[in-house]
Amino acid sequence: MLLLDYILGRLAQMVPVIIGVSLIAFLAIHLVPGDPIQIMMHGRATPETLAAAHAKLGLDRPLLIQYGRFIGNAALGDLGTSIIQNAPVSGIVGEKLGPTVFLLVFSSILAIVIALPLSLLAARRVDRAADHAIRLVGIVGFAMPPFWVGILLMLFFGIYLDWFPISGFGKDFIDRLWHAVLPSATIALFLAPILIQSLRASMLDVLTADYIEVARAKGLGEWRILVKHVLRNALIPVVTVLAVNIGWLLSGAVVVEYLFSYPGLGSLLVRAVGYRDYPVIQGLSLVFAVLVIVVNLLADLSYMLIDRRVLTS
């Protein structure tokens, strides 16, 4: 019962955000200075094609009706039509959603694999050499632009060592994993310093908690204490930090997908902006925002599986 109430409450909170997000996505095309169709067609549209395109996109109707139709159609999964590609936007975008989610999951896992042991080491050796070294690596790592790191990885692992492909997507699961290694590593290297910073702090809290000493007093070994008592409690901040940084994760993905010609939402966005394909830009901004909202919702729900206290507070 509590669980259901909680989920319903969270969904209700999302409603105004979804309305605001859709409003921004909707207005994107209307805020373009000049005629969006004319800009899309590079000024070469005749009055007839202009009128036809306006009618096709519904641009000739009152704004409020247009918005109503936009949001109604979007709710049914119809994001309009790309004039340039002459195809439904939902199809164009939907086809890229999978690869991007794949990339996000892969790079999050990689980032955790990098960040978890390092932050644990830093927390156990507070203010000693290892801690300072890890902090310095974090500081420098944080300042490395993903597009540059990606190029370095491409140069070294892709070209010099020739271990991994430097572009494309792949055919089956293993092949896709293979193609996603370098892009994911690039995103993970951007995300890991952010994760390490907040994880180190929360690891410190957990490591100095009374129940860790109690566990030692029970005669548990360090390894068991780590796995059973530290990691599970430290997972809560991992989930939070990942969810809070999903925006940065996606931002990194945009650049990295473009760099590695990875067929995801990010490279589609960059291309759509290049072509001034406004319906696709609209659809994409909506999908990106919904992705952020959904990830945050999932994070909230997963807290409850890790820590039951959330439900009662």
């Binding site: 009374d210 030692r216 007093a217 029970k218 005669g219 070994g221 068991r224 820590d307 206290r309």
Partner: protein, 327 residues
């Protein structure tokens, strides 16, 4: 008969930014099997450090054990390898910590945590563990334990969690329980219940109990013998009767007179003047001398060590004969 626990000449230092601090200064103690020893002193006097040293749970660094012996049941815990210590913890030796709110891991069911030590020490399987958890919870007075064994710490009150923590300490059938201020964080009415429970369990199982407290009244009610700690040292040690009737250290008198008494009224309540000393800059003499009403000039300069002034009665005062005048 050899004592269950014998601490001899234990010295523990802490390294801090401000320099070295002697947290335990030539501490000595014995605990007989089945006995209750009370350790009293203000916060910072080294009581908790002592408990953690016995269990070897002090983080080193910053702590450093500089010398002494901790003989438990015939073996020196300071020499024991980590594997042996792990074996002893949660079986022959157990600890009850101060704050029940943080003593249990919030993300696991209480029953699991109570028997975790047993399972790790390879004594029982999962199903057996659950049965034992229910049994232990019943022993510490949790109503309908079979329904509550799978609940989480946040669902229980502080007093109940402390009972669970006691059950956890009992799980391995210990010979000695170190209870570090087990009632300080609880409501006054619950405090008495928990103390009574501890004494009942002790009487039933024959284990020894070291009860650490800053409260002379708690120790008076419960202990066979009392050790008074000040600035990392044992300043007086005697059986409870003696220490209350004929204290031979001015600090003990100060602690006793700061207990409120019903018959005495507010007028008799006399707090000890001054602050506990900073362990970082102690002079060569008696650490209590700046706050002492019967100190003489030599107290500031002459090093003091505990002396057995009567059989079983130790005092670290240069002038124990003057203490009677304070009563």
């Amino acid at each position: 008969m050899a004592p269950l626990l014998a601490i001899e000449d234990l010295v523990v230092e802490f390294r801090t930014r401000g320099g070295r601090i002697v947290a335990l200064n030539h501490v000595f103690l014995t605990v007989q099997a089945g006995e209750t020893l009370g350790i009293v002193g203000e916060s910072g006097s080294g009581k908790s450090v002592l408990c953690r040293t016995i269990l070897r749970l002090l983080p080193t660094p910053p702590a450093e054990i500089k010398g002494g012996r901790v003989m438990f049941d015939g073996e020196d815990l300071l020499d024991a390898p980590e594997a042996r210590l792990r074996q002893l913890r949660g079986t022959a030796l157990a600890m009850i910590s101060q704050n029940p709110a943080t003593a249990l891991n919030p993300v696991w069911p209480i029953g699991d945590q109570i028997t975790e030590g047993l399972r790790v020490h390879g004594r029982i399987g999962r199903r057996e563990a659950r049965k034992r958890a229910v049994e232990l919870l019943r022993r510490v007075g949790i109503p309908s334990p079979e329904l509550r064994v799978d609940e989480y710490p946040h669902q229980w009150s502080g007093g109940m969690v402390q009972r669970a923590v006691i059950a956890m300490a009992l799980a391995g059938g210990p010979k000695l329980i170190l209870a570090d201020e087990p009632t300080t964080a609880l409501d006054v009415t619950i405090q008495d219940q928990i103390l009574a429970l501890l004494l009942d369990l002790q009487a039933a199982s024959g284990m020894a109990l070291v009860l650490v407290s800053h409260d002379m009244a708690v120790v008076a009610e419960t202990s066979d013998r009392v050790a008074v700690m000040y600035a990392g040292r044992i300043v007086e040690l005697a059986d409870t009767r003696t220490i209350f009737r004929e204290p031979r250290h001015p600090y003990t008198v100060g602690l006793m007179q700061s207990i409120p008494r019903i018959e005495g009224g507010a007028g008799r309540l006399r707090p000890i003047p001054g602050q506990p000393p900073s362990l970082a800059d102690l002079g060569p003499g008696c650490p209590f001398q700046p706050r002492c009403a019967v100190a003489s000039p030599d107290c500031a300069t002459t090093p003091v060590a505990p002396v057995e002034i009567a059989p079983g009665h130790w005092s670290a005062c240069l002038h124990p004969e003057r203490v009677g005048a304070l009563l």
